[in-house]
Symmetry: C2
Amino acid sequence: MLHNDFYTPDKQGPYETASVGRLELEEGGVIEDCWLAYATAGELNADRSNAILIPTWYSGTHSAWFENYIGEDHALDPSRYFIICVNQIGNGLSVSPANTDDPSIAMSKFPHVRIGDDVVAQERLLREKFGIEELFAVVGGSMGAQQTYEWIVRFPDKVRRAAPVAGTARNTPHDFLFTRTLNEAILSDPGYNGGEYTSHTDVADGLRRQSHLWAVMGLSTEWWKQEAWRGLGLDSVDAVIDDFLDPLFASMDPGTLLNNAWKWQRGDVSRHTGGDLAAALGRVTAKTFVMPISEDMFFPVRDCAEEQKLIPGSELRVIDDIAGHLGLFNLSPGYIPQIDANLRELFDAEV
Amino acid sequence: MLHNDFYTPDKQGPYETASVGRLELEEGGVIEDCWLAYATAGELNADRSNAILIPTWYSGTHSAWFENYIGEDHALDPSRYFIICVNQIGNGLSVSPANTDDPSIAMSKFPHVRIGDDVVAQERLLREKFGIEELFAVVGGSMGAQQTYEWIVRFPDKVRRAAPVAGTARNTPHDFLFTRTLNEAILSDPGYNGGEYTSHTDVADGLRRQSHLWAVMGLSTEWWKQEAWRGLGLDSVDAVIDDFLDPLFASMDPGTLLNNAWKWQRGDVSRHTGGDLAAALGRVTAKTFVMPISEDMFFPVRDCAEEQKLIPGSELRVIDDIAGHLGLFNLSPGYIPQIDANLRELFDAEV
């Protein structure tokens, strides 16, 4: 096990852990003791009908949701809902390459995990730990959107509302290639050492190169052109890189990023229907708002809109934000109000 | 000097070279014997009024133009025009890090060159070698568009028509950051050895990583999604990478790419006007068609359109092509007909 300050309650806010036991993985590996890190807000009501699940995105944890999306002034209102944010497997807080004491899955031995494995583990956690059989809603961004789609296709009877933000139900070829460049930034660093590095700082160069890719693909041409970084209290392009993105990515665990990227690359609900995406999305009974971000460069609106058309009763709600994909981090003043307005409408919808 | 088959007439088609003598560079360096590689088609008419200059793009040479754009069935018709395609400084055919026998500028010692240095050298070549004082037109794509803009701002009286395709007059911050990732792909390869590699094959890993970035940014999400590669006779995503892009970039000289990238990152006609882009573009007297490609991810239409509005009498002619920036390589059947139609109209315009 490697120590990394980034993956601590001090940095990520408080959370709990619970095991869902042995998890046999779609790709054939197994996690003997699959424990998940999660954080909650609000109270589960008597009939357990007010639970909202939030799965997490690549590189992130529950903290981004608690810092930006959850509160009594938001749609994700703990005075009304029981909100549970579950960290995805391998994200550095749930069981992950660098935080497990199980030598059979430590570091380079950590198995390939699929989006479906996370959803199976989450379903168990909700049922076994909280007695939740049905979710009021699932809300997730990016890889969290992939998990949201997986939920409503795999367990159509268990989800009443869904809001996949800035993500797709079936990953695109372009997105796969983009993610490969993220991986190569790390894999090309000799410090990565085949996954047997002794500290994430061994891979500082690779993590910095990955950060630079995020600067290009995570934001948008217009965000940079309009110098929207001024709104974040930064004073130059260099400051965005040197004081914001580079330190953020340099803090992370390389194995976590690679494992989650493998999962991201293969998100695909049509695995349930022999590759037929229309059939998979046609199963959905949850009221679904598909919420792409207008300037997203790798989950572009048109990819999300094509999928939305395949989901019965769904609506396309484009979030207008020049921050692009990283708009998920609440970079623009207009972002959260749009999220809240759409989620409020979704949560108020009769289903 | 390093031998590299890629930079030979056998691979690039025939060309000639001529020296424009000592070139003092904007950044302070000097190339004592600045020789340019160029190829021509057609005949210069008696009053030397039918010359069309084509500068080259990043990673490319004159060959892409001769293979795809020049011919009696094209607007760039050698039966009507004297067409001269000049390879940019440092591109591997004109004087470059790996092909010079001047030890003061060889390999890692090659000086920083700016777009303006190329245009100054080209103007000398045209005047001294061919007696050309005025150009019928300048046509260029990508970095060739940067040089086209530089021509019409620096020498407004010397150019009658201009067609910058898929490029900008002032490079954007996003574009700078994208280019940095291209550079880092090479610089992170230990084989690069501070620019003192013994063969471009020493840097094969870095060149392959750069190729993978082009797969993401050079094409478009839609090109990949629609499997437009089938139109190139390729049968899979892997074939696009393994059989097309990787071998192409693996053939190139790393020092050439880095030197040209430095130039690309700093293209800016407003250097002539103290940073005032409107003043710089306001100088233009050439009839100008600004021709962005609809799906270009790093020279997006809106960036080109903003500049077009600043050019007196200019017109915006968007080339519709899902291939994005690499559409320049004539990847889509509809691309060249659009280029030809716009260039014919431009060439027929009274100016």
